[in-house]
Amino acid sequence: MNEYFEKQKELYGDNPGFDISELLSKPYDKTLAEKLYDPAKPMQNRITDIGPAHFFQFLPPVLKKNYGQWKYHEIVQPGVIKYTAESGDTVFAVRCASARLITTNLIREVAEIADKYCDGCVRWTTRNNIEFHVETEDKLRALLDDLKGRKFPGGSYKFPVGGTGASVTNIVHTQGWVHCHTPAIDASSVVKSVMDDLFEYFGSHKLPAQVRIALACCLNMCGAVHCSDIAILGVHRKPPLVEDERITGVCELPLAVAACPLGAIKPATVEINGEKKKTVRVNEDRCMFCGNCYTMCPAMPLADGQGDGVAILVGGKISNRISTPQFSKLVIPYIPSEPPRWQSTVKTIRNILEVYASNANKYERLGDWAARIGWERFFEKCNIPFTDKSIDDYRLAYDTYHTTTQFKWSVHTDNL
């Protein structure tokens, strides 16, 4: 560790964020910014381009010591991973869920737990889990007991432990109605409802392999659901409204026209109160409801409570393990929005998960199972109606067509 740290110091020691311990030891000064910032001289006292604080200073001591020298790991129980270093040092990482949308109250509570058990150190994972590190069995038991006892007033766990191995770990998701301007569905309430239902799978290792669920509340896919075992995607189904009266005031018409990947938006002129106004018209038969026009033009909203809802895609993966990374495939084109509990979506996901769990081989990811048995069998086994909406008709569609006499007999062919 010392050699690595010395090298980092040599390379980056002059960066202001290399060691911020002294800054952090001072209490927050509420008045400092107003003293330093003068709107008339905006460059005065301005610090820019310093980047992030250097990561090494935040590592738990045992991780600093064994940086780059880890040897193997073992999941001792769901949510607890024991790492062993070349030096013989060991550390337990305890993984627990969070809602991602969290308040400073909860973060302060995490800091308090970190101080109590972990030398003040804590980590977040890519999938919104929180990881605490402890070095002894005693501390591990005490930490697990402590976490188990922390609940919100309504009774939900603040820090449920799990998310390792062949489980359903935390859902990667987006903002939804809580904070985004383009969503077709909410995010946090869907995630809460799905994970309440699948809670038993978060804290256990019962599945054939890990199942990664992700949610994106519109086709922009900030949640990157295009490579997930199960993807929950918000979709629009009505073409954009065009607000003729305000469109020239709020957007550049050529950009709105160019935004459409299918060329379905054309410039137009309309008469409003005897006055000619420039606007656009949408060839509604060509609209695929991607929402890119709305991203470029606020006067073309797509959101519609009746039209919007959930699409389910399955079988994607990111890992290169056994099979190559795969896209998620659309198996259910539409489920209506049902806030706050999204019961049809929840039921659909549990069904797919359980059919997969009882049929797939050990180590087999959902998409690998579906590919092995054939997608006709996937639809049959999951009792999902196959519709033309699952047949690609966009670019590269031909890549997904069946060009062989090899197929399986299934419910879809039984009554031909």
């Binding site: 006292n45 809460k192 990111i318 393990r321």
Partner: protein, 428 residues
């Protein structure tokens, strides 16, 4: 404590039930302790539940002086009902690489956000930033001054910038990290601060780095430039540990399947037969691997982590162009550099990135991701722009159509031809 007004939110309240952490309970508790923004946010969410539509307005350009990214404007479309969230802008703060924190860091961040923002956050945003949700326009400069002066922490990216680079936990805790993902991403973030803060690209650009092909940070699916650790020597084998797995003394896949009876561990069925290249076999009690045939998928290593480890001649595979569907459809990154050593100061890699950006800034259309340019102009153009050589590893299979774009200098005699001479040989 400040007076606060709680809205009637029966549908939100339903989400306090159940076992999974309730964001509603968390936000409501924060609100009742004096943050009206939290209660107004739940009120507006209740309205969205009723209408099944969002109540946030489109856009609004706000920011801090000299930066073109890092702050996202957000305004409620029901400000009369929910005045405290009329402005509710987001500030993206660049996370430490690997997302390790000290309690002192978190507390100071909370102090700033309790004083100048709503007290609500996303840990973390999809790109990896610390996302501070909800503040007003007049607080943006003070927030920036607070983070830079009192924490030495900078903003992240947004808009047509380099977005905040992200990595897995790498060598800090993982035995499979073939590259120092945190060190690499820290260096790139510092090197490209100008690109991160000042929009000069056709659209967003993301770096993500994972230490091995398990790809825990989803680099291959979510970044324009995916830096993924690999090795080019031999998988290290501890034969005694192989025997221990076979004897049932060690748990397969590190215990990942512990809650179901899958029967006794069978190395033939669970490892050797599942190997995608069938490059492993048993000779008596010895596990053999033909490493030349291995594609480093990680399965055998994942199943027997005590027995098998990646090699020691390590570096990165570079893949380019992953993105979500808008506009041309989703892409997974395409392999361009099979192996590159990744040691500071990473000059060879940065030169490669420079040639990619020059190409994209010259030819990319407005809002065209790099992966879409690569599709539109071809791998051949990438080779011309970067000086890389064509290798079979770049494709799943050779092309099946014969439409080759020969250039004149590749064909004997070039393309200048004499029609009269042609007609001397062939009557018209």
């Amino acid at each position: 404590m400040a007076e606060v007004k709680k809205h009637a939110t029966p549908m939100c309240d339903e989400l306090k039930k159940g076992s999974w952490p309730s964001f509603v309970d968390d936000i409501e508790q924060k609100g009742l302790a004096g943050k009206q923004e939290c209660l107004d946010l739940l009120g507006q969410l209740e309205l969205s539940f009723k209408h099944k539509e969002t109540h946030w307005k489109h856009g609004g350009i706000v920011g801090v002086f000299g930066y073109g990214g890092g702050v996202i404007g957000r305004y409620s479309d029901a400000p009369e009902q929910f005045p405290s969230i009329a402005h509710f802008h987001t500030v993206r703060v660049n996370q430490p690489n690997g997302k390790f924190y000290s309690s002192a860091f978190l507390r100071k961040m909370c102090d700033i956000w309790d004083y100048r923002g709503s007290g609500m956050t996303n840990l973390h945003g999809s790109t990896g930033d610390l996302v501070m949700l909800g503040t007003k326009s007049d607080q943006l400069e003070p927030i920036f001054f607070d983070f830079t002066h009192q924490m030495s922490v900078d903003l992240g990216g947004s808009g047509s910038n380099l977005r905040t680079p992200e990595c897995c936990m790498g060598k800090s805790r993982c035995e499979w990290a073939c590259i120092d993902t945190q060190g690499i991403i820290y260096d790139l973030t510092q090197t490209f601060q100008d690109e991160l803060h000042r929009p000069a690209f056709p659209y967003k650009f993301k770096f993500k780095s994972s230490g091995c092909p398990n790809d825990c940070v989803a680099a291959i699916a979510r970044s324009d430039c995916s830096i993924i650790g690999t090795w080019r020597d031999e998988i290290r084998i501890d034969q005694a540990a192989v025997a221990a797995y076979m004897a049932g003394e060690l748990k397969p896949n590190a215990g990942a399947h512990s809650d179901r009876d899958w029967g006794k561990f069978d190395i033939q069925k669970e490892v050797i037969d599942l190997c995608p290249t069938k490059c492993m076999w048993m000779e008596g009690k010895t596990l053999k691997i033909d490493n030349r045939e291995c594609t480093r998928c990680m399965h055998c290593i994942n199943v027997m982590p005590v027995a098998l480890r990646p090699g020691v001649d390590t570096g990165a595979t570079i893949l380019m162009g992953a993105k979500a569907p808008i506009l041309d459809g989703a892409q997974i990154s395409t392999l361009v550099i099979p192996f590159i050593k990744m040691e500071p100061p990473y000059d060879e890699f940065k030169d490669f990135v420079g040639s990619i950006w020059d190409w994209w800034m010259e030819e990319g259309k407005n809002r065209e991701r790099f992966g879409e340019l690569l599709q539109r102009q071809s791998i051949q153009e990438l080779l011309r722009r970067t000086g890389l050589k064509a290798i079979p590893q770049m494709v799943k299979e050779p092309r099946s159509n014969p439409y080759v774009f020969w250039s004149a200098d590749e064909v004997e005699g070039g393309w200048k031809r004499d029609a009269a001479e042609f007609r001397k040989r062939h009557a018209a």
